[in-house]
Structures are given as structure tokens and as C-alpha cells.
């Protein structure tokens, strides 16, 4: 009995013991699970706190059971909303079928790294890189969904892509050959269409190969160029001779720059080759053209010199030979008048007088024409001239020759830069003219002076003579044009033409002003020098 009691007690104790142990075990495992979940939660919270990415946890039925703050701020849903909605609403693309297929893969235990487009509550979208992996905890499968907003990366990628596109476009459409070489001198990746055209090799033919354009004899020069560039130097516009596919030579102008990686290490070089064939050809033509031009100029100069010499000879001949018969006519007419006076009646004497007058007039014409031609031929000797004293001398000579009393007005201090002999001829001609056309006046006055019109300094000779009809003033400076009859006002009509030509040789202009019976004024400029007043104004 006692044994039975003992056995019973023992069995009971054992049962209780086992019962307790099982309970304890269960309690322990429950505790452990709890602790594990706590750790997970803490871990999740930690991730939530520091993660820059959206983190969503889905249960094995694909319901959202956790979402971090970043998810809330990114999608615009509250946590409560997120826990209620189908996570598929967060995804714009890819299509639901693909999502379903991915889900199957995940359910098979695979991890995924994918690019998707996600959609916010307000309908706006953003590119995302998602990493999804199943996590099994206590036999339950969860899905950890980490989503990174890659808008910035995408923008940067697009920018980079655009820039690359532009660069490629520039390289491909550039009219100059562009290619790159690696450290060994092999063509890396660039060999643009212009390079194909320039050298004849297609891009596919040369990629990865040594530069085929360097002729044998230029190898050492190429190596020197290469080593200089590889030391970091750039070279610009080096004139070189290279070869085309087939071996024909081509003249190029080459610029090379070293290429660097991000760390600044030289990784190769970029070459730009300009075809110089056309330019060389043009230079050649230009040289030829210059040569022919020089030849032409020489020919023309020599022809001009010949013409000038002929003109000199002609003038010399006119001076001598044309005047000689005139002297004979005049001289012998005079001799007849003197020696045969008694045999000539009044009419005969008158005829001889007319012969002499005409002869002498012809002599004057020849003289004036010679002077006109001479002033075109003589060399100018330009000096600083005291025009006032030049004018005074010319006035005195004019007065002596014409034997008339004139009231001269010539101010002191007028100066110009020009040829004194030629300008004396100008003044003499203008003074002679003025004297001639004041012949009928009782108190002839001739004024020489300077005036400023429209900012230009004009010298002038003004008289109080008979003047002229202003409508003919353009004809005044033409040789042999006369506005008055030769009988009233003798002269050859060459004086003012001479004035115009001399002033023209000084680079100046002439201009006349006058009215009938109101005097005349002749203006001229001598731009070769500055007047004293202008100098004072400086």
C-alpha cells in the first residue's frame, strides 16, 4: 500500500513535474518570441528612424502591416490609410500582371531589385528603385519592401544623357577630324565622320588599333608629340603631313590635348585634325595671284612711265616747235609792217595787226596749256608756307604787271602746308582774274583771306568786279570755258582750270561765289596742313 501510495505520489509528482516543464517551456518560448519581436520592432524603429528610404512591411497576404515615416511623407497617405489600402495602389507601373509575376517569385523565396514608378495619393508619380525580399519569422513570411525615390538620380542621368547626346552630335557633325587615343596610342572610342572623310578609314576599321595615319618617316615626330601630350601638355595648330588610306599624303593642322580621369590621371589624348589641303591650295593661288598682280603693276607702271615720257616729249615739242612758227609769223608780219609801210594801205596794216594779235594769242594759249600740263607732272614739294607773305608778293607782281592801282586786303598770319610755287600760281591766277574783272571799277578792291564754313577752313580771293552769272559757276573751272567775251576780258580760259588742278593736287576743293555786278569770290581749301588758328585751338 505504502508502495502504491509512494508510486502514486511519485507518478503524480512526475506528472506535475512534466506538466510544469511543458508549461515552462511554452512560457519560455513565448517569452523568447516576444523578445524577438521586440527586437525586430526595435530594429524596425531604428531603421525607420534613420532610413532615408521608404520601408514597408507586408504580411504573407500582401497587406501592409508596417510603413515608416518616410513612406507617409512620400506617398501622402496617413499610416492608417496605408495599413488599409492595397499596396498595388502605390505602384503606377509596371502592369499588374508583372506585379503578380514578381509576387510569385517572391513567394518562391527570391529577392528582387527592380525599378518601378510609384504613385502618390495626389496622383503624382516618382521613379523608384525597389528592393523586395521575403523575411520568414516564426514560420510566417513577411515581405520587406525598401523603396528609394530616384528622381534626382534620374534627372542627373537624363542630364548626363543629354550632354552625351550633344557631345556626340558635336563630334559627329564637326567639320574637323576628331579622335581619341589611349596611353598606348590606340584609338579608344572616337573617330568621327570628318576623320573618316579626311583619312579614309571607317570608325570600325580603326577602333582599338594604332593610329594608321602616321607615315613611316613621321614616326619619331609622332612619338615626340605623343610623349609631350602624355606629360600633360596641349599642342595647338601643329602643321603636319599625314597619310590617307591608300598612302596619299594629306596636310593637316593638328591640336592635341591630354584626357584625364576623375582623379586627374592622364588616360589618353584627344586629337583634332583640320584639313589644310584647301587652304594650302588657296595660299598657293594667292601667291600666284600676288605674283601676277605684281607683274601687272610693274607692266602698268612701265606703261604709265612711257606715257609720261611721251607726254614730256610732247610738251617739250609743243614748247619748242609749236612756238617757233608763231614767232616767224609774228616777226615777219612786224617786218612787213615796218619795211613796207609805204606800200601798205590802212586795210593791209589792219590785216597784219590781226595776224599778229592772233599769233600772240596762240602763243599765250600754248603757254597756259603748258603750264596746265606741267602742274600735273611736276613733283610736289610740300612745306609750311606763310600764305600772307606769298599773297603779298603775288599781289605786288600782279600790280606791277597790270600797272593798275588796286586796294589789296591781305591779313597777316595766314599759313598752310603746300607747294609754294604751285600755290603762287594759284594766287597769281586768281589775282590776275580779279584785276581783269575789276577793270571797269573806280576803286578796285581785292581781298585775300580765310573763313570757316561748315567746320572747314577756306581761303578766298574776293573782288568787287563785274562778277558772273551764278548759274554758270560750275563751268568756271573747266579749261577754255569763258563767261565773258575775250574782247572785253582777254584771257585763255585756262587760269581757273589751272587753279582747280593745283588745289586738287593738294587734296583740296575749289568753289566760286558771285553775282552779276556784285563781285566774285573764289574759295579753296588746302587740307595738307593746319592753319595757325586751328593750331592755337589745339
Amino acid at each position: 500500500m505504502a508502495i502504491i501510495v509512494l508510486l502514486t505520489l511519485g507518478a503524480f509528482s512526475l506528472i506535475i513535474y512534466y506538466f510544469h516543464r511543458e508549461r515552462l517551456d511554452r512560457l519560455r518560448s513565448e517569452y523568447e518570441a516576444l523578445a524577438e519581436r521586440h527586437a525586430l520592432t526595435e530594429h524596425f524603429e531604428y531603421l525607420t528612424k534613420y532610413a532615408n528610404d521608404i520601408i514597408i512591411v507586408l504580411d504573407d497576404s500582401w497587406n501592409i502591416i508596417e510603413a515608416n515615416d518616410r513612406a507617409i511623407s512620400s506617398y501622402g497617405y496617413s499610416l492608417g490609410e496605408l495599413l488599409r489600402i492595397d499596396y498595388g495602389r502605390l505602384i503606377e507601373s509596371p502592369s499588374r500582371e508583372i506585379v503578380a509575376r514578381r509576387r510569385q517569385a517572391l513567394e518562391r523565396g527570391e529577392s528582387l531589385l527592380i525599378e518601378e514608378t510609384h504613385k502618390r495619393k495626389d496622383g503624382s508619380i516618382f521613379p523608384a528603385e525597389a528592393s523586395i525580399r521575403p523575411i520568414v519569422s516564426h514560420g510566417i513570411t513577411y515581405y520587406q519592401y525598401i523603396i528609394r525615390d530616384i528622381t534626382e538620380r534620374k534627372t542627373a542621368e537624363r542630364l548626363l544623357y543629354d550632354r552625351n547626346q550633344h557631345l556626340a552630335m558635336i563630334i559627329n557633325s564637326a567639320p574637323v577630324g576628331i579622335y581619341d587615343l589611349d596611353l598606348d596610342g590606340r584609338i579608344k572610342s572616337i573617330w568621327n565622320p570628318a576623320a573618316e572623310k579626311l583619312f579614309g578609314w571607317k570608325r570600325e576599321e580603326v577602333l582599338g588599333k594604332f593610329l594608321p595615319t602616321v607615315p613611316e618617316q613621321s614616326m619619331s615626330e609622332y612619338e615626340a608629340l605623343h610623349s609631350i601630350t602624355m606629360q600633360g601638355e596641349s599642342l595647338t595648330d601643329v602643321a603636319l603631313e599625314r597619310q590617307r588610306k591608300g598612302g596619299s599624303p594629306v596636310a593637316i593642322s593638328l591640336s592635341v590635348s591630354p584626357l584625364h580621369d576623375q582623379q586627374g590621371n592622364i588616360t589618353g589624348m584627344l586629337s583634332i585634325a583640320v584639313d589644310m589641303t584647301k587652304r594650302k591650295e588657296m595660299e598657293k593661288q594667292l601667291r600666284l595671284l600676288n605674283l601676277t598682280l605684281e607683274q601687272k603693276v610693274a607692266e602698268r607702271t612701265s606703261r604709265l612711265r612711257n606715257i609720261n615720257e611721251e607726254l614730256e616729249a610732247f610738251s617739250y615739242s609743243v614748247s619748242h616747235d609749236l612756238r617757233a612758227p608763231l614767232r616767224s609769223i609774228d616777226g615777219f608780219s612786224q617786218a612787213v609792217m615796218e619795211d613796207y609801210e609805204d606800200k601798205l594801205d590802212a586795210s593791209g596794216r589792219d590785216h597784219l595787226k590781226r595776224i599778229r594779235a592772233a599769233t600772240q594769242r596762240m602763243g599765250l594759249l600754248i603757254d597756259d596749256l603748258l603750264q596746265l600740263s606741267r602742274i600735273t607732272r611736276v613733283d610736289m614739294r610740300t612745306v609750311e608756307i606763310n600764305l600772307s607773305s606769298l599773297a603779298s608778293t603775288a599781289a605786288r607782281e600782279t600790280e606791277e604787271q597790270t600797272k593798275r592801282r588796286i586796294a589789296w586786303k591781305i591779313p597777316e598770319g595766314l599759313s598752310a602746308t603746300g607747294d609754294p610755287r604751285l600755290l603762287t600760281i594759284v594766287l597769281r591766277n586768281l589775282f590776275d582774274n580779279a584785276v581783269k574783272f575789276t577793270a571797269a571799277k573806280e576803286n578796285p578792291t581785292i581781298e585775300f583771306g580765310r573763313t570757316v564754313m561748315n567746320g572747314t577752313s577756306w581761303f578766298y580771293v574776293r573782288d568787287n568786279g563785274v562778277g558772273f552769272d551764278p548759274k554758270y559757276k560750275d563751268k568756271l573751272f573747266t579749261a577754255f570755258q569763258r563767261l565773258h567775251s575775250a574782247k572785253d576780258y582777254p584771257g585763255t580760259g585756262i587760269g581757273l582750270a589751272t587753279v582747280k588742278r593745283i588745289i586738287g593736287r593738294h587734296g583740296g576743293e575749289v568753289w566760286a561765289d558771285g553775282a552779276i555786278d556784285a563781285g566774285a569770290a573764289f574759295f579753296f581749301t588746302i587740307p595738307g596742313g593746319r592753319t595757325e588758328e586751328q593750331e592755337c585751338m589745339q
Binding site: 619748242h320 614767232r327 616777226g331 615777219f332 600772240q360
Partner: protein, 152 residues
């Protein structure tokens, strides 16, 4: 006009001009003997007693030479150069009497040692006047140079 005994050498190829010059001299009562030669070569032959003048006494020099510039065979300027180069003739006054008013002729004449340069005017009255001045100066006022003896 007071007479100066020497003779005048006129070098002129144009017969009209010879006639008119002689007439102008006569009009001015210049009664000196006037020898006329009609080209440059003849002028030099005359002065240096060569060729057809070989019998002429070379010491019998003209008091003045009236020299035209445009002459056949040897031009006036060349004749002047020869005259001035030779010891026997270099002191004889030479008056250029020409139609030319070309400056180059004037400059060359003076630089070769011409004593005067007269441009023959078309107007005969003025020519007479010019010859008058010429005669007055070279035949009356001017003291002729002493005869230069040539060392044989």
C-alpha cells in the same frame, strides 16, 4: 649803243629765227659782226677751229655766244658742256636763246654754266626788247674775260 669790237656767235638752226634775231640785233643797233652756225657740231668746229673752220684763228673768240638748245647733230646743252669743259672757251659768256620754257632746260643750262637764259617770246616787239637788254648787258656793261692763252 656803244660798240664792243668782238663778234657774236649765233648758234641757230631755224632760218626764220636767224633772220629775226639778226633783225632784232640790227634794230637795237648792235653792229658787231655776227657769225652764224646752224648746228651743234658746226658750233664746236667753229670754236675749236676744226674741219671747215680749221683756218680760223682760235684766239679770235666771240664776245658772246647766243645758243639755241634744240639743234641738229649735237644739242645745245651738249655744246654748252663742251664749251665749259675746254680751257680755251670756258670763260666765253653763253646766253641760251630758246623757245623752251621747260624748267628742266633752265636748271640744266644754269648748272652747266650758262650766263643767261632768254626765252624767245612769240611777240616780236618783246623779242626786240629782250635782245636790247642782252646787247646792253653783254656787249656794253660786261667786261669780257681776258684772253686765255693755251699752253701748247
Amino acid at each position: 649803243m656803244k660798240k664792243s669790237g668782238g663778234k657774236i656767235l649765233l648758234v641757230e638752226d631755224n632760218s626764220d629765227d636767224i633772220e629775226l634775231t639778226l633783225r632784232a640785233l640790227k634794230k637795237n643797233r648792235i653792229a658787231n659782226r655776227i657769225d652764224v652756225v646752224t648746228d651743234g657740231e658746226e658750233a664746236l668746229d667753229y670754236l675749236f677751229s676744226r674741219e671747215k673752220y680749221r683756218d680760223r684763228n682760235p684766239d679770235d673768240k666771240p664776245v658772246v655766244i647766243l645758243l639755241d638748245l634744240k639743234l641738229p647733230k649735237i644739242g645745245g646743252l651738249e655744246v654748252l658742256r663742251e664749251i665749259r669743259r675746254d680751257e680755251r672757251t670756258k670763260l666765253i659768256p653763253v646766253v641760251i636763246l630758246t623757245s623752251s620754257s621747260e624748267e628742266q632746260d633752265l636748271v640744266t643750262s644754269y648748272s652747266l654754266g650758262a650766263n643767261s637764259y632768254i626765252r624767245k617770246p612769240v611777240d616780236f616787239d618783246r623779242f626786240i626788247e629782250a635782245v636790247n637788254h642782252l646787247g646792253l648787258y653783254w656787249l656794253v656793261l660786261n667786261e669780257p674775260p681776258p684772253c686765255v692763252r693755251i699752253q701748247p
